[in-house]
Symmetry: C2
Subunit: 399 residues, 2 copies
């Protein structure tokens, strides 16, 4: 079985490395050897063992009848979309790690793959090496999924863990994460929640079988979380995590990305550092959780290689995958109910007047302010009421 | 798509219930409706809506060309084996929740299914509703699996949790578990570790692709664990769990079922009550964990129904599954290395003389004895040395 890898960056080179290192076991599981014939990249990599496999024109791959499996690890919607589409149209199976492409063009590429009787697989696009796409598509199919809540971004989870453990401010932790290679030079996609948003859009599309537009999802990042917030969280026995969540409400879902305070009893409380975890609740299965390395070269490449093995096993067969292009209208997040933690330097009497019987939190070393936790309250009602209070920070509380 | 269910007990009736309750979503995911035409059982179930589907002769199912999917939820090797074999030979796909059947006849039934170009699936046989069989077969295929360690028996995990939380003795907790329906009248298979042993044999067979005989696996149950052991565990900050583990050693695996002391840092430390969890370490992926309901009617039936959906999607195709009948010779457990916790009323000097510099543990309220923890030591060496010490209990310590 001949394969091509488009994009020889971190993940792409990881794929080549794993295919070589685990050659025998992969051959055994795929039923035949998988060999990389081409690597598409604009760079030359002279001196690298793959140098003689480098091509710069994707049509060489598309036109080679020997190639049956193509891997896309370039990232971004274009030119990845053009290249992937050409490969599927040429009757080649495609595996990708590219969440931007999948969130944007997933439904279309799945339909094209079905038309051409090949497969478009994307296990690595969510949760890195953690099996979550295939479990949703092939394992939890007896269930109606009522909730998916995940820590889906390793960068921000590392940062929140560091802030909690070291008591540092956001900016210092970000610099540390950048120095360690966990955060990119332009960290916007991670810290503003855009990355997690695309991932929960993909997962929600898969559980409902329709297109969920990531731009419809209420998204807040972690940039407003301060060392003082962490102090309050610790005093209350909570951890702060960026959660991406999707809950079934009637015939649709309500999705959100936002930092949350998590009690010790929460299944995601202990997920630290760059690890990811996805909590899933099925109407028959009940709760389940999937945990592992959500990012990193080899874990992510491991998921891509698993897709390649699955495609080798299904070289003659399209695996049915429900993700229709009809858009699902998400329930407006403002209609949802949440619990809020608020820090304020306003008067307690005023807070009680507006929110009724709330739980106050005070930390001796932090003067001139206090925190309070609301009861369960409709989101839009909360935001209307809170307009009358001077706030220092607002963070949701997960149950 | 017409199906038959063999055995209308807890799981079998759960399968029928889920197919009815989640009918629309299952139809959507399978690509067509799945309808139960027959239920095989020796009982009549008059008054039950399925009463008119009851048949008592399995050959009626085998000979009906309309039936393409058969579910086996009878349990035990015979007559399940005879019935399942007949169904596969008649060209029908079979899904089973029966770990005894899979551990004993898995390789043979997989080969027969391949010969007949149908599928023999058994997601529900390990970990109840937790997706673990399909993740190993289809998701972690890029990896060489170096370790699988699981809490694979819900009954014993419930009992260990109760002993820890209530401070009760083994016999009292067993009675409570039986009263709640978590333990059977004859609890031997659970409390002696036989159930967990069959499950780790299945998982090990799948990761190595060869037959692993459960009778080769060193198996200890939880019957010797006492309330005093739990007191020591708590004093040291440990939990006691029945672990089933399999580790790659050279070209083979070393497998064992035994109670272990787990530190707070262990990924399975927080798995309580009837929940199961499976920790997997791949050579590329690193650590991953799968958590959920390891038993119970609907969670287990949910996994069976997921197999049915996968079979509907693969009605024309055998999914390649490596589990060759050639037996894998496991590494002898005596050759492995462990850490041991020992309770003794012997002399400390003697213990030090024999084991060198060990860590002593004493609990003020428990007089006349003490505990000690050995360094990492070869199992057979430990058992040779410990012959010279009077022991009150011996439990391994997980790292």
């Amino acid at each position: 079985m001949k394969a091509a890898v488009m994009g020889y960056g971190t993940i792409g080179s990881g794929v080549v490395e794993i295919l070589e290192k685990n050659k025998d076991s992969i051959k055994n599981k795929a039923g035949e050897p998988i060999e990389v014939k081409y690597v598409l990249d604009i760079r030359d990599f002279s001196g690298d063992p793959i140098a003689d496999k480098i091509v710069k024109d994707y049509s060489i791959i598309a036109q080679d009848p020997e190639i049956s499996i193509v891997v896309e690890t370039m990232g971004g919607v274009e030119p990845a979309y053009t290249f992937v589409k050409a490969m599927l149209e040429a009757g080649k199976h495609v595996a990708t790690s590219n969440k931007a492409l999948v969130a944007d063009k997933g439904a279309e590429l799945i339909a094209l793959a079905r038309e051409k009787q090949v497969n478009f697989l994307f296990e690595a696009s969510v949760g890195g090496g953690i099996p979550i796409i295939r479990p949703i598509n092939s394992c939890l199919t007896g269930d109606v999924i009522e909730e998916i809540t995940g820590i889906l971004n390793g960068t921000t989870n590392y940062m929140m863990t560091q802030m909690a453990e070291e008591g540092l401010e956001f900016d210092d932790v970000l610099k540390d994460a950048q120095a360690k290679g966990y955060a990119e030079k332009d960290p916007t996609a991670d810290i503003e929640g855009h990355d997690a948003c695309r991932k929960i859009a993909i997962l929600t599309s898969l559980v409902c079988g329709q297109q969920v537009d990531f731009s419809d999802i209420h998204t807040e990042g972690i940039t407003k979380i301060s060392a003082t917030d962490i102090k309050y969280a610790k005093a209350m026995g909570y951890a702060i995590k960026l959660l991406a969540t999707s809950k079934k409400v009637g015939d649709t879902y309500m999705a959100m990305v936002a930092p949350h305070l998590l009690p010790v009893s929460h299944p995601l409380y202990t997920v630290n550092d760059v690890f990811n975890a996805i909590y899933v609740r099925g109407n028959m299965l009940g709760p389940a959780m999937f945990y592992g390395s959500g990012a990193g070269k080899l874990p992510t490449a491991s998921a891509v290689v698993a897709d390649m093995v699955d495609m080798a096993k299904h070289v003659d067969k399209n695996i049915l995958l429900q993700w229709r292009p009809e858009k699902l209208e998400l329930r407006d997040a403002g209609q949802g109910e949440s619990i809020f933690f608020v820090r304020t330097n306003d008067a307690k009497e005023k807070v009680q007047e507006i929110f009724g019987d709330v739980k106050f939190v005070e930390i001796p070393e932090i003067g001139g302010e206090f925190g309070f936790i609301t009861p369960v309250i409709k989101e839009e009602e909360f935001y209307k009421k809170i307009e009358n209070v001077t706030t220092l920070s607002i963070i949701r509380v997960a149950e």
